[in-house]
């Protein structure tokens, strides 16, 4: 496979593209794609999103890294995605390696593989891609002739399940880190040392975790007895990297020639969240809050729209209503774009009439469709437990305002399986949805549509709920049945995840190194594209656990000891374990800690990153 000529690849590719569905996924050539002559640069990076193009191409993280790397004169970055099953079969049948979209270069010719891992259900795709690229799956089997395989993204705050396959993890925000990594690679390459020298150099970069330099030992009961770095110069814990100020937003978005899940540009208006919802992984790991100035956001919107020809912008953040200058921003967005046909998405709005006012300020820039609210829990008791305090009256009032302002369709997100949740709390979801439907009906009649989105709670690492177990499938099913039955009777639409499908995310997000062999075996059993409901094969996973002699329940059905060393304890998000523990205790007592912007609860972020904090004039940080 190594010696295939480019012309042979091109001609074989030419004929297989006729045999697959949506071949436009595999050819690149988008407007704003960057092409550099292969020999004109020193370092070749393959940015790999391990799911299909349609899902991966709109990913903002991937776009940011692509932009940053290609701005370096001595680096080129090209993209690759997981092939769909039909394309994979064709590649294997025709002995073709997986290739990059830009130059159709076989992936094993690249110097660095950078995997984006935003969620866990794509781990088997990583293995499949390495295999299709002809690269040894196990990091321990790779030599100097193989690419360096790195990974980053939100799932990497617990990298342990993937440590067998990844040479080095980039923990935290990648904007600066990716350049530190490529520079270290270039220095090593110029000197021509052994692969271990490269890994040692990488391990010295703050935010880089080289798992092979750390040893993990276990107690007899299977819990971790210790984790320590045996190689000199390795940090413990490995602390995530952050950027003190969000760099200028990217604007040269690639414009796909085939449809993807989001055909629009995205501008991140704020990173982090000060709300402290106890179930929320994103809210804990992305601290501190850093805002972008409205002027910068407006400029980026204009430049991005001009560069792409898109007419839709998503203004992204974890809690848009919390941006300190959100009203001013939305008003100026309206002023700037009112005579255009631009549509502006403003997701992640807090439950408050103010959020409805914000959407109103957008006037005709607002896309059609419904309004979305996420109370997450339906009783005040539950909302205190999860630290999302809200009076029911505020929820109802917000719903009233929504209908009053002309929306007829309302989507409500709730979770089931939360700590200390009872059937009464689940029944309350139905009651609340019916109440809201009643309000809508009394105001707007039968055209009102209510849609319940039910997610299953998974206790995520680095959150105050990380010690909890997952509710058993049977009792989750009973809760789902109650909701299904109730919504059908009340003509409310409901979508939910079957308990089985959340198991994989639970194992992988909460797992340790012993899951490496399980992932490998599951892939050998045929598991891949696991994030696709129709492809997910629970049996392949259960049999892999059995083959490897690993008990899946150990990761999901076991309340973890408060003094236990958790598999991800040696990765630090800046939020201290002490803070998480205090917050857990407050939750058990039904006590809340509201927005930390005014009143710092000492989560640890300022201890870890306070020295980076710029002046208020320079950039707004949420920390007081």
């Amino acid at each position: 496979m190594d010696e295939l000529q480019k012309s042979t690849i091109d001609s074989r590719l030419e004929s297989i593209l006729f045999q697959v569905e949506k071949p436009g996924r595999y050819v690149g050539g988008e407007h704003n794609q960057v092409r550099k002559p292969w020999d004109s640069v020193e370092t070749h990076v393959a940015l790999v999103f391990p799911d299909i193009y349609d899902l991966g191409q709109p990913n903002l993280g991937l776009a940011i890294l692509y932009d940053i790397l290609n701005q370096q004169p001595e680096v080129l970055a090209e993209r690759a995605f997981a092939p769909w099953v039909d394309m994979e079969a064709q590649l294997r049948e025709n002995a073709l390696p997986l290739f990059s979209l830009e130059s159709k270069t076989p992936l094993n010719k690249f110097d660095i593989f950078g995997f984006t891992l935003p969620y866990e259900q794509i781990y088997t795709n990583v293995l499949n891609i390495l295999d299709l690229a002809g690269i040894p799956l196990l990091a321990s089997e790779r030599g100097a002739e193989h690419p360096l395989v790195i990974a980053g993204g939100q799932a990497c705050y617990n990298p342990e399940p993937m440590t067998n396959f990844i040479d080095a993890f980039a923990i935290g925000e990648g904007e600066e880190l990716i350049l530190d990594i490529t520079r270290a690679y270039q220095d090593w390459k110029r000197c021509g040392g052994a692969r271990e020298e490269l890994l040692k150099a990488l391990a010295r970069i703050p935010g880089v975790y080289v798992p092979s330099f750390y040893e993990v030992a276990y107690h007899e009961d299977g819990t971790i007895s210790h984790v320590f770095p045996w190689m000199q110069g390795c940090a413990i814990p490995v602390r995530k990297r952050i950027v003190a100020k969000l760099p200028q937003p990217i604007t040269r978005f690639l414009v796909p020639n085939v449809e993807t899940v989001h055909d629009r540009i995205s501008v991140e208006i704020m990173r982090g969240c000060t709300r402290g919802c106890r179930f929320c992984h994103a809210g804990m790991v992305n601290r501190p809050v850093r805002e972008r100035e409205p002027e910068e956001i407006l400029q980026a919107m204009q430049a991005g729209l001009d560069a792409t020809g898109y007419e839709q912008v998503g203004l992204l953040s974890l809690s848009s209503s919390d941006h300190t200058r959100i009203l001013e921003l939305i008003r100026s967005v309206y002023e700037k774009f009112k005579d255009t046909r631009v549509q502006v998405n403003l997701p992640s709005l807090r439950i408050a009439s103010f959020s409805v006012d914000l959407m109103d300020e957008l006037k005709d820039l607002r896309p059609g469709g419904g309004f979305t609210l996420a109370p997450e829990a339906a009783t005040e008791r539950m909302r205190a437990i999860i630290n999302k305090p809200l009076d029911e009256e505020i929820i109802l009032e917000t719903a009233r305002t929504i209908f009053e302002h002309g929306w007829l369709s309302l989507k409500l997100y709730f979770m089931i399986g939360l700590p200390q949740e009872t059937m009464e709390d689940v029944q309350a979801i139905l009651d609340l949805a019916r109440k809201i439907k009643g309000i809508g009906k009394s105001m707007k009649g039968n055209r009102v549509r209510i849609h319940l989105g039910i997610a299953t709670f998974i206790p995520k690492p680095h959150t105050p709920f990380q010690w909890y177990s997952i509710e058993d499938a049977q009792s989750l099913q009973a809760k789902i049945d109650l909701l299904k039955d109730g919504t059908r009777k009340s003509d409310i639409k409901m979508t939910y995840n079957p308990p089985d499908s959340t198991l994989l995310e639970s194992w992988l997000s909460r797992g340790d190194r012993r899951l490496g062999p399980v992932i490998l075996q599951a892939w050998k059993n045929g598991a891949k594209l696991d994030a696709w409901t129709e492809r997910f094969d629970l049996a392949a996973w259960l049999s892999a656990f059995e083959t490897c002699g690993v008990d899946p329940d150990f990761y999901t059905r076991r309340q973890r000891g408060l003094d236990e060393i958790l598999p991800w304890d040696h990765i630090s998000t800046g939020v201290s374990k002490r803070f998480l523990l205090t917050d857990l205790r407050l939750s058990l007592a039904g006590k809340t800690r509201e927005d930390c912007r005014e009143n710092c609860f000492n989560c640890g972020i300022l201890d870890a990153y306070g020295s980076l904090k710029p002046s208020k004039e320079e950039v707004y940080w949420g920390c007081p």
């Binding site: 593209l17 988008e30 020639n257 560069a307």
Partner: protein
């Protein structure tokens, strides 16, 4: 401004390379975005959700290239055709090449409704024995009906095929097909080639002409 008569612009373009794998709806979106990037004074459709007003003559099957696609779009104000061509070309991917830009009267019927016939040129991979294909095709053409199942419906390719002839070139034999292309019935060369036992990927199809009911018949000496 929007009340003034819109200017109808007709663009003839070629499409090849990787963009062969961009289908009809995606191509429409691609043109919408390229037109917006071009900064031309576009006319939008009326209504709640205004869209760039544009009109492609005919869906080109996935994987085919073309030398003769047609697109109509509308402007709010007239510009030189050369400027339109230059601005639009700059905004388009290299796999689309504009061949011609002209203004056409607004009252002309739509491209789709007046399209009658498409002409295709089929070239074959070296491994294909065109001698065998020629024979098979002659046999097939003797039949009064050529049934073919298309999405659970049977169509008669014989009715859709207007002419077929071979042309010898230095690169091998090429098959020239003329097929019906109306909103009601449209012939696809790949279906015919399938009946001749050819797998996709063993041949290449290029659309070479679109023929309309409104075309003037040119009689030259």
């Amino acid at each position: 401004m929007t009340n003034a008569q819109p200017i109808r612009v007709r663009v003839r373009f070629a499409k090849d390379g990787d963009l062969r794998f961009t289908g009809h709806l995606d191509l429409q979106r691609l043109f919408e975005r390229a037109l917006r990037r071009s900064g031309l004074p576009l006319r939008y459709s009326q209504g709640f959700n205004p869209k760039v007003r544009l009109n492609l003559a005919s869906a080109l099957p996935l994987g085919f290239s073309s030398e003769a696609e047609l697109l109509d779009f509308w402007l709010d104000e007239a510009l030189e055709t050369a400027e339109i061509q230059q601005r639009l070309s700059a905004a388009l991917p290299a796999d689309i090449q504009i061949r011609q830009v002209e203004f056409v009267p607004n009252q002309l019927p739509s491209l789709q409704s007046s399209l009658r016939t498409s002409e295709y040129r089929v070239s074959f991979k070296p491994a294909v024995e065109t001698r065998v294909i020629k024979e098979k095709l002659s046999q097939l053409l003797l039949q009064d009906n050529i049934p073919f199942t298309r999405r659970a419906k049977t169509v008669d390719l014989r009715q859709l095929l207007l002419s077929a002839y071979w042309r010898e070139t230095s690169a091998g034999d090429e098959l020239i097909l003329e097929m019906k292309s109306t909103p009601e019935a449209s012939g696809r060369p790949d279906e015919l080639l399938n009946l001749l036992g050819l797998e996709p990927g063993t041949y290449q199809v290029c659309r070479t002409a679109l023929i309309f009911s409104t075309d003037k018949v040119e009689i030259d000496g």
